[in-house]
């Protein structure tokens, strides 16, 4: 690995740490780069898994709610959600 590439990956790691810190609660931050990278990897993996589970759960709930609807009401809901947010 050239030194330039390792510098880029350190920048990216730092960027990832700061961005993930705003998204995911992370307890400790200090320590060697490797230790924080490991913890970061674990937090990222757990966060991705929980988000994917949430998508699955929301799909379930939406399919239950939409069961009684036709396409037009679904369209109205989507437009309403667009306007409200």
């Amino acid at each position: 690995m050239s030194s330039r590439r390792s510098r880029i990956s350190e920048e990216e790691i730092n960027e990832l740490i700061s961005k993930l810190q705003s998204l995911v609660p992370e307890s400790r931050r200090r320590g060697s780069n490797r230790a924080s990278a490991t913890k970061l990897l674990k937090e990222t993996c757990n966060y991705i898994k929980s988000l994917q589970r949430e998508v699955d759960d929301l799909s379930d709930r939406l399919s239950d709610l939409m069961a009684g609807m036709d396409n037009n009401s679904a369209q109205a809901d989507i437009i309403r959600s667009l306007l409200s947010s």
């Binding site: 590439r5 993996c45 991705i48 929301l58 939406l62 369209q75």
Partner: protein, 216 residues
């Protein structure tokens, strides 16, 4: 990450609606499981289309397109682009390799712990494994897990994998938020269809009474 949140919302919702429309027109009447699959598929596709051209979005669309039950919906949405996309990014050998690798990660973890136990039992005392070695092994293991989670992650390494993961996390979070607001909107509409508003005329009467009283 130059895509603004507003732009992403509209694209997401448009694509989501399109996906639902296409899958509903294909299989009608539709079972609950089928509806759930079509919602999930439409949401994932909408997320990928809203994000644009990245490594993970192509990998995700390809992975979704390889499943038999999704093919007709994808063809309906993509049209001619379906053939081009599938040809460019599908790699069935890689997919098989991924399946095999899943098993090896599990067996690696098991054998690593077994090895430690064996060596400590033989030596009769606590074996000092250097902390940097442990940390490096942990990092390798977790990197493998991350590669599995991020679509297209198996092909990436190091900083590329991390930047893709970051992008994917942001898009996932946006997808979850969109689906939540959609769910809330659907709830509101389905409950308002049931509710009556009997109290409204009464309120008007009260208001007119108070006005009359205050005038006197």
């Amino acid at each position: 990450m130059h895509v603004t949140k507003e732009f992403k919302k509209k694209t997401f919702l448009k694509q989501f609606l399109l996906g639902l429309h296409v899958s509903n027109s294909i299989s009608n009447p539709i079972s609950i499981q089928q509806r759930k699959n079509s919602i999930k598929l439409s949401a994932d596709l909408a997320m990928a289309f809203a994000r644009g051209r990245t490594h993970w979005t192509h990998a995700l669309i390809t992975k979704l397109g390889q499943k038999e039950e999704n093919k007709s919906t994808l063809k309906g949405i993509l049209g001619r682009r379906y053939e081009i996309l599938m040809a460019r990014y599908s790699c069935p050998l890689l997919y098989q390799k991924v399946q095999r690798r899943k098993k090896s990660v599990r067996s690696y973890r098991f054998s690593y712990n077994a090895q430690k136990r064996r060596s400590s039992a033989l030596k009769g005392s606590c074996v000092r494994v250097s902390p940097s070695v442990v940390a490096r092994n942990l990092e390798n293991r977790r990197t493998k897990v991350l590669k599995r989670l991020v679509p297209g992650g198996e092909l990436l390494n190091g900083s590329a994998l991390l930047s893709e993961a970051l992008d994917y996390v942001i898009s996932l979070k946006a997808q979850v938020d969109m689906m939540k607001s959609l769910w809330r909107a659907t709830q509101v509409s389905s409950s308002s269809n049931v509710e009556l508003v009997p109290s409204a005329p009464l309120q008007k009467k009260d208001a007119s009474c108070t006005i009359a009283n205050s005038e006197e």
